[in-house]
């Protein structure tokens, strides 16, 4: 079936099977490989993208379910002038990644958390990231990055 989804502001239209999961639509049909697949069972959060601004796990959403909706992936995060998004910038500055496998999902999950609560506490961030697993960092620097990003002026525009 033909499925049209706005991905990072561009209208995409691809002929895929009804059973195509959003993550495969993004990776294989659109060709954006930034969204990772970790567990494939809704547990790890590596596949997190924004759906109409809210974080969702794209391994557990059918592309067909979100036809006509807006999806943002890690490739759509950079600011218009090419600079990194404040959450990405904060990951770099706070050393919030090691192997980087969880990072796209973490960045999307944190962006959604900060949209819902622009002045978060550390507890809010820690609880809010319960659906995102990281095997490397021990989370401290990821939480630090989220808190640092929340103070960035671009987040409050």
């Amino acid at each position: 079936m033909q499925i049209e989804i706005t991905v990072n502001g561009t209208t995409e239209s691809h002929d895929v099977e009804a059973r195509t999961l959003l993550v495969y639509y993004l990776r294989d049909a659109v060709g954006l490989k930034g969204t990772n697949i970790g567990c494939d069972t809704t547990s790890c959060g590596a596949c997190t993208v924004l759906l109409n601004g809210q974080s969702v796990k794209s391994c557990t959403v059918l592309a067909a379910q979100v036809a006509g909706d807006e999806v943002t992936t890690i490739e759509g995060m950079a600011l218009e002038d090419g600079r990194m998004h404040p959450v990405q910038q904060a990951f770099q500055e706070c050393h919030g990644l090691q192997c980087g496998y969880c990072t796209p999902g973490m960045v999307m999950a944190i962006t959604s958390l900060l949209a819902e609560n622009p002045e978060p506490t550390e507890e809010y961030i820690r609880l809010g990231l319960e659906g995102n697993l990281c095997r490397c960092t021990g989370y401290h620097n990821i939480v630090a990055a989220a808190l640092a990003a929340s103070g960035a002026p671009e987040m409050h525009q």
Partner: protein, 274 residues
């Protein structure tokens, strides 16, 4: 993992969904948020030949104040219930529990109707709605009917809906001056309850619900009777395992779960002011 092939229809109205269910019977499955059904389909534990996507029916996503109850549309997502000012002010227990389900990503997709209709005894909301004495509204080819929460959960993953019925609304009583407690034991963040307990105490009575303590979510009549006859939280909680048939698995034996139920019911009752 990719589900087996299926036909997919995105419906524009509840009647269209009911028509498709009537026509296709057991081969068709409703899809709401998909956060219970799609994982099963990916594991090929479910292989419906037709998916009827009711996700677009946003007219069933609402929380409104009615005279005697809070009305929640079946397609309201957990996140929207958790942050709804109306839920927070009139049934804060419901907002609290909706805000504890899974993780934010799950709460952005999963719906209250899906949680109820899936019939998983490990789900949080069914036991809470039992304890609150909620009523469910189902719509079928011949119109709407109301089903008491206590009559809804039939057996393991089986509920009282007919194959051509759609759950459209959940009616939640608003006990005045209610105090409540909700306790959930998990080993990992984001998990389903190994055991969970909920208690609601108000002028109109007491409700105690148990999560994952049998093939269906339970209401604990024995604990409620003890509270009504004047027992304190610790005394009443001793009855928490009565009539339960929890399963044994890698998370715990039957005896362990029954012990945990007594502990969690005591804590929930204490928080509810018993």
């Amino acid at each position: 993992m990719i589900p087996a092939s299926f036909d997919y229809v995105r419906v524009g109205s509840a009647d269209e969904a009911i028509g498709l269910l009537s026509e296709h019977g057991e081969d068709a499955k409703l899809l709401a948020g998909g956060h219970s059904l799609l994982p099963l389909m990916k594991l090929r534990l479910a292989q419906p030949s037709l998916l009827v996507d009711i996700g677009p029916l946003r007219e069933f996503s609402y929380v409104t104040d009615e005279e005697d109850y809070l009305a929640v549309g079946a397609l309201t997502r957990h996140h929207d219930i958790a942050v709804s000012p109306l839920t927070l002010s009139s049934v804060p227990l419901l907002a609290h529990v909706a805000g504890q389900i899974g993780d934010p990503q799950v709460r952005h997709r999963g719906t209250i109707g899906g949680s109820i209709c899936h019939g998983d005894p490990a789900s949080d909301l069914p036991a809470v709605l039992l304890a609150l004495g909620a009523t469910f509204v189902a719509r079928g080819p011949n119109g709407q009917r109301e089903i008491d929460a206590k009559d809804f959960f039939v057996s393991f993953f089986e509920v009282a809906l007919k194959p051509d019925e759609l759950l459209v609304e959940i009616r939640v009583p608003r006990p005045s001056d209610a105090r409540w407690g909700f306790e959930k034991l998990t080993k990992r963040a984001q998990d389903w309850a190994i055991v969970g307990a909920v208690a609601v105490r108000s002028a109109s009575g007491v409700g105690v619900g148990l999560i994952n303590m049998g093939p269906v979510p339970l209401r604990s009549g024995a604990v409620e009777a003890a509270v009504l006859s004047g027992a304190n939280a610790a005394e009443a909680a001793q009855f928490a395992a009565e009539g339960t048939e929890p399963s044994a698995d890698f998370n715990g034996s039957v005896a362990y779960r029954q012990h945990v139920a007594r502990v969690l019911v005591r804590r929930a009752l204490e928080k509810a002011g018993v």
